[in-house]
């Protein structure tokens, strides 16, 4: 990335979308920033007094960006905040009083060791890094889970990640510890190699009640080599087979990169809807935090709208871009989801069947058709049928937040299927206003909950790594 020499300024066809705050991708200092529209896209622009001006694309379709802002809803307070406001967002994470949302999904990275060396890794993990890495003990993970429970009361979901968590010798105990705390959705984020090789692993996950979040970037050899370092398709298919046999439900998680596997998103969806173990697909535009394409042009990054358009273009019989609805929990440009019904032949996205906004916005509470479909659909987009006694708005957000297939959908005649498009921020795209409403947090060993995009962009990852291992990872520790 070469910083532009001029300070960010509007040119022809540039419109301001409002001020925000960002950081310098180099020195991480807080900077006043501007969201601008140029050539139909939304860019984040700011200038660092020491490192010059930076611009990055944050949403590929400015019209849609403006349109989806109406989905923005006020956040819900967490029960506890772990840090004080001192230097200002994003330098006090933990969660600090400036944060405006509770945490729907907590992530615990149990190790840095991995059985792959993915070029794409944002966690600086790999087979050769163990000596400088760390591996949490069961006790540490338990105290982190306790911190999460203290912050959330009744956390919705937690994901054990890494490194490659499946190679941690105590991973099953850790997963069990999460379930034992009453967390309804406990996920294992894995590359699937252990699932493929160890026939006892999927049944063990089934017994504990774990949902597998399986890295699955596509089918072509070139995609896999570029993203994961080697071809893994046979292992992925075997892992899925074993999950299906054991009754473990799986979300496919695809990192999507421009000109690499963008063309495979449709195929991943059509594979997923057919596979008995798969309940959904998560598409994540690749961020350029960490080691992947560190020289990539931030003006060329793929965003949610690009992925949504690619899915619709590759599966025109099934999807339109407006089938993807921003979840109201985080910022509308962070995560969009759709649910679809599929019976092996026909697929209908649920937003075609209901006015999703009516379900998301209970305040308006317009009269709805008195059909059975109402019950079925209401459970999907809202709180009522989820059986929770929590405040409606709160439950609503967590379900709409789409961390996993709502159980209500399993009761309808056809199969329910979910597609989520989730864009994470990197040092170039970091918009502090969005970050304040982030609902995905890394739970770190000292009990802080650090919003995911801050963790990877501001220097927290390096800081934790340094504390845990005495080594700051490959890059210099940023200013967290």
């Amino acid at each position: 990335m070469t910083p532009t020499t001029d300070a960010p300024q509007g040119g022809l066809g540039t419109t301001g979308l409002g001020p925000t705050t960002s950081i310098c991708p180099r020195c991480k200092q807080q900077l006043d920033a501007e969201l601008i529209e140029r050539d139909g896209r939304v860019l984040l622009a700011r200038a660092c007094p020491d490192h010059g001006a930076f611009e990055a694309v944050v949403y590929g379709d400015a019209e849609r960006y403006r349109e989806i802002q109406r989905f923005s809803k006020p956040g819900t307070e967490p029960l506890e905040r772990q840090t004080e406001s001192d230097r200002g967002c994003p330098h006090d994470c933990g969660i600090c009083p400036e944060h405006t949302q509770h945490t729907c999904l907590g992530i615990i990275e149990v190790n840095t060791a991995c059985n792959l060396d993915c070029p794409i890794c944002f966690a600086d993990s790999g087979t050769g890094h163990q000596e400088h890495g760390f591996s949490l003990s069961l006790e540490q993970v338990e105290s982190m889970l306790d911190a999460f429970v203290a912050a959330e009361g009744e956390p919705e979901s937690v994901q054990l990640s890494g490194g490659e968590p499946s190679i941690h010798p105590q991973i099953l105990e850790m997963l069990r510890a999460a379930r034992a705390r009453g967390i309804p959705l406990v996920m294992l984020n894995t590359n699937g190699i252990r699932l493929a090789r160890d026939p006892s692993f999927a049944p063990a996950l089934a017994e504990i009640g774990i949902h597998v979040y399986l890295q699955f970037d596509g089918f072509s050899e070139s995609t896999q080599i570029a993203i994961r370092g080697r071809s893994l398709i046979e292992e992925k298919l075997r892992a899925l087979e074993r999950c299906a046999e054991a009754g473990v439900s799986v979300s496919l998680a695809a990192a999507v990169e421009r000109d690499l596997n963008e063309h495979e998103v449709g195929q991943i969806v059509s594979f997923g809807v057919e596979h008995p173990a798969v309940t959904g697909v998560f598409f994540q535009p690749v961020t350029h935090s960490g080691r992947f394409r560190a020289d990539a042009d931030p003006l060329d990054k793929l965003t949610n709208s690009d992925v949504i358009e690619a899915v619709a273009a590759q599966l025109p019989e099934w999807f339109r871009p407006d089938d993807f609805v921003p979840v109201p929990c985080c910022s509308p440009s962070c995560r969009s989801a759709t649910f679809a019904l599929y019976d092996g032949e026909d697929l209908v996205p649920l937003p075609r069947l209901v006015d999703v906004e009516d379900y998301l916005d209970y305040v308006t509470n317009r009269a709805l058709p008195d059909l059975d479909v109402r019950e079925a659909l209401e459970g999907l987009w809202s709180a009522k049928a989820a059986g929770g006694s929590g405040p409606v708005a709160e439950r609503l957000e967590c379900i709409a937040c789409a961390t996993a297939m709502p159980p209500e959908l399993r009761e309808v005649a056809a199969r329910g299927f979910m597609i989520v498009v989730q864009d994470f921020q990197d040092p170039y795209t970091l918009d502090v206003e969005k970050l304040r409403k982030c609902c995905v947090a890394e739970i770190v060993p000292d009990g802080r909950l650090i919003p995911f995009c801050a963790y990877n962009s501001v220097g927290y990852r390096e800081q934790v790594r340094l504390e845990m291992s005495g080594h700051g990872g490959n890059g210099a520790a940023g200013l967290a």
């Binding site: 019904l341 026909d346 209908v348 649920l350 075609r352 069947l353 058709p369 059909l371 479909v373 005649a413």
Partner: protein, 278 residues
Amino acid sequence: MKPAGAELGEVLPSGDAQLSGAALKSCCAAVYAHPAVRWLLDDELHPGGAATTRRALEMAGLKGGDHLLDVASGSGASALLAAEELGATVVGVEYGADAVREAVEAASAAGLGGRVSFVRGDAEALPVADSSFEVALCECSLCTFADQERAMGELHRALRPGGRLALCDVVSEGRLPAELRGGLATIACVGSALSREGYERLLAGAGFELVEMESRSEDAARLAARVAERLRGARLLGFGSLAELPLSVPEALEAVGAAREAIADGALGYTIFSAVRR
């Protein structure tokens, strides 16, 4: 919402039986008030919804202070639009008692109770005085009336000389396939739709002069596509039939498929007719 359903069971035609007179009117009123039908149509009770209504009223030159008669006013959406956006004083006449109640409530909720009123009544014997309206609106309902000449005559009677009629309806050219004839097709405004020429004759016969016609067939195509989509959804959700309608979801899908083809071929369409009362 049980009342509409209970009513439906009593008034619906079986199979291809043709309906006439009062039975047809009750049936139409009950069907369009039914929540399942409202869901299928997403409350767009005529092609194009509010946009088409706006266009029809614009073609008829409705302006603030005008008195508008809305025949078959349903739950009142068009009447409220005319009052709210264009400043008209509106009387809606509707055959279904539930729809009238719903419309009255909607008008009062919108704070328009003073300028919009709804009465239960028959399009073939309108409960309004002679020559009392500047504009009349009849949306997607004329072709469900058993005696269309008489209904047209009533519209003529209610309008002042020089008053304007906005008539929006399904137009069918040539013979429709079997799926699009019969009782339910009639209720869907398809089975008994006239040709353009048929409407022209009907208007002329009642003493109207046709001023302008505008095709809104794209709206009809969009509406049919949505209904098809929701029927597919209903099938995927495991509904064998739609509430009390004597039509299975697969049969309904076939009929809507046939309608979509007919719209694409130009055999079926939706048109706004703007006419002046002589």
